[in-house]
Amino acid sequence: MENKLEQQAIKQAMEGRASLYWWFSSLLIRELTSEQLQALCSEQGSSLLSQLATEPTLRPACEKVSNELAKLRVMQDPQLELAADYATTLLGDHRSSAPPYASLYANDSALMYQEPHQQMLEALSQWQLGITLESNEPADHFAIVLDLMGNLAIKSLESRQALTAQVDLVNSLLLPALKPWSDACQRHTGLYAALSLLLYEFVKLDLSLLQEE
């Protein structure tokens, strides 16, 4: 009975992790739809952030995100403003903004499609997953890496290998890139700078928990 309860808890935890990784992935891959923005600015968004903030290491970033959402709520055209923030923070060059690709933070070459891209291609191939985006994006776009993490979280309920793969992916690719990326995001104010902090803190926490498990 106890074992069953624990399995249930593990399942919930992994599903929760997967949902969070997919949530972060959706925030990074494109501008928010009006439905996504509405949900984020509503009770649902507040409750999500409150729940995350129960974890002490996530609380400061959650507060920053909440503050940015509060600013958005009083804007005349929040969706458009947010789209401009998105472009300013993520779609420019790495000098003026913080493009969400691991390659740019892997070394100081400032080139795209470097080792992290190849590493992701191998991982996707290993787990027999393909990118469904219409745009020809490098596989090391953080949104794709995060989506894979979500997939692996679910797979890890049945595969020990998937659990190890997550630790490897976070250790070797995600976490080393997220820190400088998040730092670069802080050159801007706005929701995306706050979210980058929350993502970094969450992945850091997740890794420590994965390693404990």
């Binding site: 929760g16 191939s125 027999q128 985006l133």
Partner: protein
Amino acid sequence: MALSRRSFLKGILGSGGAAMVGPSLLAPLSAKAAEETWKISGSHWGAFRARIAGGTVVELKPYEFDQTPTEMLEGIKGIIYSSSRIRYPMVRYEWYKNRGKANPSTRGDNRFIRVTWDQALDLFYQELERVQTTYGPWALHAGQTGWRQTGQMHSCNNHMQRAVGMHGNYIRKVGDYSTGAGQTIMPYVTGSTEVYAQGTSWPLILENSKVIVLWATDLAKNLQVGWNCETHESFDYLKQLQAKVADGNIRVISIDPVKSKTQHLLNCEQQYVHPQTDVAMMLAMAHTLYSEELHDQDFLDTYTLGFEDFIPYVMGEGEDKIAKTPEWAAQICGVDAERIKELARLMAAERTQLIFGWGLQRQQHGEQPYWMGAILAAMLGQIGLPGGGVSYAHHYSSIGVPASGASAPGAFPLNPDRPEDRVHQNSDYQGYSSTIPVARWVDAILEPGKKIQYNGTTSTLPDIKMMVFSGNNPWHHHQDRNRMKRAFEKLETVVAIDFAWTATCRHADIVLPACTQFERNDIDVYGSYCVRGVIAMQKLVDPLYQSRTDFEIMTELCRRFDKHKQYTRGMDEMEWVASLYQECREANKDRYVMPEFKQFWQDGIVLFDGMNNYVHHAAFREDPEINPLGTPSGFIEIFSRKIASFGYDDCKGHPTWMEKAERSHGGPGSDKHPLWLQSCHPDYRLHSQMCESKPMRERYAVQGREPIYMSPQDAKQYGISDGDLVRVFNDRGQLLAGAVVSDNYPQGVVRIHEGAWYGPEDEKMGALDTYGDPNTVTLDLGSSKLAQATSANTCLVSIEKFQGTAPEVTAFGGPSEVAPT
């Protein structure tokens, strides 16, 4: 234990939270590993083979025919995978919200938003429609074009102008930034532009010349790049010349203020001359030739017109009553009078090939040194002889390499096939000129309606409201950035199509991401002038991000006004490439066997083995009656009645020495800003192309900035050491550059290569350029009323060691950052 700490995840993003999560980016797929392949392609920097692994270009090797490949090939990966790539269609935020009412002064300092391709092309089309119907063709300038990526099918100039031309008429340019003065004056003098004409073949020069004068030309630097795919065969001949110099068979004299790369390669003599004073030196050489009866009177009598109207000016019997003696010239040009005489005597005594570069005519009165060069050559009487005469282009695109005689592949058409294909037939420019001199468009924006003299006509500058740039970066090649800033504030709409965030894109309203030439299939001539072959440009990787080929972009634009079928002629990319090849194959069928297209594409290249030597102007020399030049008289015009009839004070009926608006070494303005800034073509890139390639930039940048080359004397005087950051300034602007102290430079001369990307510290007028674009400080002035060409090399600056914390380089960024509202 850890599980308990997962409690914050319990039920997270459950039923209600699903709305916050978008669709998955991944799907089950039985992926197979991408095969490793080698492909062939070409570029301005030469032909190469590329290894593709995992869908990525991992290695480039020069094509084996190329015996002197340029190291710039190594910068190509830096172009493809640059973080400066434009990844998505973008629209300037302020413009997106307010369109015509957008505050134009925010251009260049504003945020962008991403739009879909459909939105972007709708906006582009709506703006074309608005400008054509609200104003007319005079308000749209889509004629500013430049060095596109290579490839005959995808040449972006042709695509943009054909597509926009199918919608309506627009303003066009005449001339170009490289050779504006030369190509305008020389048709009056020798009947062709000369700057783009085939020159005497190197084997004949090597065999016959005893003296070669390299007048302000740096062959070894500039021959690294070509208009089409470059073969670098010219370097084989430079190596032979090097041996002949060493053996004492040929004497090469580089007349240049700077010790050039070519001078070092050939280990030849240098004759220093003060910047911008070459005409004075040449006039004095003419004085010596005439005074000492060393000139070829028979040649002048037989092949030229107007010597008798010119020589009084030289001998002090003209209007100014000043004899252009070597002693007179020495005061101006800094060359000893005896040395001037010695050089004139040497040239008269030996078979002498004069070879001029283009930098000389990129200055105020830039027409004069070219004209005077032709007169010197005419006085020597060797024009039309192998190894004698004058050339204006041996530094360019394999000119002088014996040509195969084959036909090169044609290109995707530049214009609509039929005038009636245009949606808007309106060709009423309302008194404005429909074509304007290339470098005067900023004048037009700032002073619409102004009448300027140009090449015997009056040009009325149009009131430009919208500009379209494709593969063209005027925020590199035009002069005086702060003046440009003022001009751009007056434009209503700017569209830029490019693959990287150039400064032009950052000052645009609609930015469309084209793919690089390495992401499309194409065809090109191998060797622009020698036509050594035809090369397949095999697509290395698919277009990255959301970029598209120019063909696709413009097809979709034309679809919006129902002209896409006429635009494409019903053919796709590969059908176009195949058809260009087939036409070329047909044109060459009597001379060269070319395989079927399928075989050609598989082989990657077809080479032509013909090596035809050529002597420039030999036919004219043989019989000037049967083979007249294209001048009004058919002869070399030493005095041009036509030009004299224009009555210009800055370009008279014969070459004259005229003082410049700014000149170093005691000339006007040198008391305030003492140093001459030379902004010649770069050694490590093609104009501004490849500046965004970090691997290449790391080879030459100093503290991340463009180098400023200077003499040890100037460095000492200004307290600057090699490697220091330097502020370069004058009354027009200021920039940061990194000091390279070198014996190659004389006192009073500094160099910053043109093409350095512009990256101002902020959006304010006069802001410090953080990377080192020389056109931040250059003068925006027409060369004369004849050519109205660029005068970039008429420029004085001051320098000082930069103190304090250097600002971050902003040149290679995307849209500028501003605090969100």
